[in-house]
């Protein structure tokens, strides 16, 4: 697989502030890459650098094998979709789609066929004569995607395209973007702070923090084997439970408890006498009949219940730490009830307490 976008040692500074530092990233042809991080992590900045909307301070950007580090955005072979749609309000949908093409002096028939194709793919043909003000948020974002589509480019950049939409529409359009990627097979780079979007859309996710990529991997890897405590905490909702303790003699000791680590796949051998944090996802804690099979079992008292319909989140205390358990929505539990829970260390993550890196 050849690379579609290559980012080499990219630096970006605003005055004394380093926004991106020595960033390297290769994106394959037809890959869907999601840049995920909380606000201020540099994900949008990186996307703007790829688009050419920001001048980099150092490093290179290659798109389709050409060095485009100093090329104008329009010459890079990219199309971009923005959070605020950024449609031209006084033009009709058709005008929005064709404006860039007209400006590039493309033949009229070519413009017409491209607009027709894009509007068919996105099902916005009935809207062509309307102005953006007369469209709903979802329709507007579809037009914005269409504007990228008519450019007939290999690389699509999405800058939080669904953040301005309500939850239901967001879910619908998310599916549509995924479908679009399947049918077009373009390279797509997608910036979001929404982990659900990232998990559902991505071939690979790059988790960013402080201008650097913390972890780059498939959604499975990111979810199952986070490289550090930050990634573990960031991914997953409700978030991971963390218990601080000590690894000693093949078990994790926290308070009076000793969780056996025989099943845990250490990266390079089990350490001994090391201060560490164990991370257990609420959905990996077992209850009810399954408890018997778990490697470690403990009795807790239910302190709070949050029913969400499909699931019920149960708050309790394990070795003095706040601990959350996800149970089936049908389970009948009440506050104050004693509950036996089971933990499987094979599903857990262990981090060095000091460096916060995965063990």
């Amino acid at each position: 697989m050849t690379n579609s976008v290559e980012i080499k040692n990219l630096d970006l500074q605003f005055g004394a502030v380093k926004v991106l530092q020595d960033l390297n990233l290769d994106i394959g042809k037809g890959e869907f890459l999601v840049l995920l991080g909380s606000s201020g992590c540099g994900k949008s900045t990186l996307l703007n650098c790829i688009a050419g909307l920001l001048d980099v301070s150092g490093g290179q950007i290659h798109i389709n094998g050409t060095n485009v580090t100093w090329a104008e955005p329009s010459e890079r072979g990219i199309g971009m979709v923005f959070q605020s749609y950024a449609l031209y309000p006084q033009m009709t949908v058709e005008g929005n789609l064709s404006f860039g093409l007209k400006n590039a002096k493309l033949p009229k028939s070519e413009i017409e066929s491209r607009v027709k194709r894009a509007s068919e793919i996105l099902q916005i043909e009935p809207l062509l004569k309307r102005k953006p003000a007369a469209l709903s948020g979802g329709q507007r974002q579809r037009v914005a995607i269409g504007r990228a589509l008519v450019r007939d480019v290999d690389v699509f950049l999405f800058d939080e395209p669904l953040s301005n939409l309500d939850a239901k529409l967001r879910a619908d359009l998310r599916v549509e973007i995924k479908r679009l990627h399947h049918s077009l097979q373009n390279t797509m780079i997608y910036v979001t702070h929404d982990q659900i979007e990232a998990m559902t859309l991505a071939d690979r996710i790059a988790i960013m923090r402080g201008g650097q990529i913390m972890q780059l991997g498939s959604p499975d890897e990111i979810y199952g084997r986070p490289v550090n405590k930050y990634v573990a905490d960031f991914i997953g909702s409700p978030s991971m439970n963390f218990l601080e303790g000590k690894i000693k003699d093949g078990a994790f000791h926290v308070g009076d408890l000793a969780i056996p680590l025989a099943d845990y796949a250490f990266a390079d051998g089990a350490p001994n006498n090391l201060d560490a944090t164990i991370g257990i996802r609420p959905e990996h804690v077992v209850t009810g009949e399954l408890v018997g099979n778990a490697a470690y079992q403990v009795d807790v008292e239910v302190s709070l219940i949050e029913p969400t319909g499909s699931d019920t989140l149960v708050d309790c205390t394990v070795a003095g730490n706040h601990f959350r358990v996800r149970m089936d929505g049908q389970s009948r539990v009440s506050v104050g009830q004693k509950l036996r829970i089971g933990i499987n260390p094979s599903m857990a993550s262990l981090f060095d307490l000091k460096s916060e890196l995965r063990l």
């Binding site: 703007n48 688009a51 329009s74 007369a134």
Partner: protein, 297 residues
């Protein structure tokens, strides 16, 4: 507990009471004053108003007076030039400042500063600057260009443009600040989208940004046009209407008739003509802007 719906008249009582003085003032001073002026423009009022009807005599005299015709012509020249130039200069300044330059606040203040000066001060300053004896002409001649001539205020043909320079100097800052606020209100993503589409900057301004700034343009237009129509003090301070009657304007004609020539009737007729002119511009615009809202989409 009151079971009936409270009287609508007494809702938001304090707000209504607070608005009464302004409503009364507006009705009496503006509507009343306007009506009174129009009525008395059909009389032969001299030093004092009196109801002696003369029909359209005052208007016939008005349109036979050379001073009035020159006033109208001057207002047209000044108004049109001012309107175009103040928008062009103000917008270009705003666009330049919007490029994320350094010392933006300082530059903005410097350019807006003239607006803080009254027209009287502006007029006097520019009277001096444009004075051939010790103004620009004298300075340039001092540099060695002995034949340089620049004395607009002393040449009846172009004196109104001397006023225009002062007016532009005073007014451009305000237009710039309003335009800058408008530019800042434009979503940065639109600029980015235009760059990705490969639209050159000037085209983005002309075809995308300026149409998006329509509300700001309308506000600015109203401010600039009212400033043009009521222009009076700048003329008085800078040229006094001279040389001769070369820089007379309608507002000054009205004032001169009413308080210098003791000819109220003539002054009323002139002000009614001014009102008519403004109404001819404003009413069609208001109908277009507010009346047709149903058809807009």
């Amino acid at each position: 507990m009151a079971s009936t719906r409270p009287n609508q008249l007494f809702r938001n009582k304090s707000a209504k009471i607070a608005a009464i003085p302004m409503i009364v003032t507006a009705l009496f001073v503006f509507v009343g004053g306007t009506a009174w002026t129009i009525v008395y423009s059909f009389t032969s009022s001299g030093l004092l108003p009196r109801l002696k009807w003369v029909g359209l005599d005052q208007y016939e005299r008005l349109w036979d007076t050379r001073k009035w015709l020159i006033s109208i012509e001057n207002l047209a020249i000044y108004g049109l030039s001012m309107l175009i130039l103040v928008f062009v200069i103000g917008f270009i300044l705003a666009a330049l400042i919007d490029q994320k330059i350094r010392f933006e606040n300082t530059i903005r203040t410097v350019i807006l500063y003239p607006y803080a000066l009254s027209f009287v001060v502006t007029g006097l300053v520019w009277q001096w600057i444009l004075n051939p004896e010790f103004g620009v002409q004298n300075i340039v001649r001092g540099w060695g260009w002995e034949t340089f001539t620049f004395d607009p205020l002393y040449n009846a043909e172009i004196a109104i443009f001397g006023i225009l320079i002062a007016g532009l100097w005073q007014g451009s800052g305000l237009v710039m600040v309003l335009m800058l606020a408008g530019l800042r209100g434009i979503d940065q993503d639109v600029w980015k989208a235009a760059r990705v589409d490969g639209i050159p900057a000037w085209k983005t301004y002309l075809l995308i940004v300026i149409p998006m700034m329509r509300p700001v343009f309308i506000t600015t237009l109203v401010l600039v046009v009212t400033g043009i129509v009521k222009i009076y003090d700048l003329i008085v301070a800078q040229t006094g209407g001279g040389p001769g009657i070369a820089t007379e304007v309608p507002a000054k004609y009205v004032y001169d008739m009413m308080f210098q020539a003791n000819n109220l009737g003539q002054g009323f007729a002139a002000s009614t003509m001014m009102l008519l002119t403004v109404a001819l511009v404003v009413i069609p615009w208001a109908i277009l802007e507010f009346g047709g809202s149903k058809n807009r989409g």
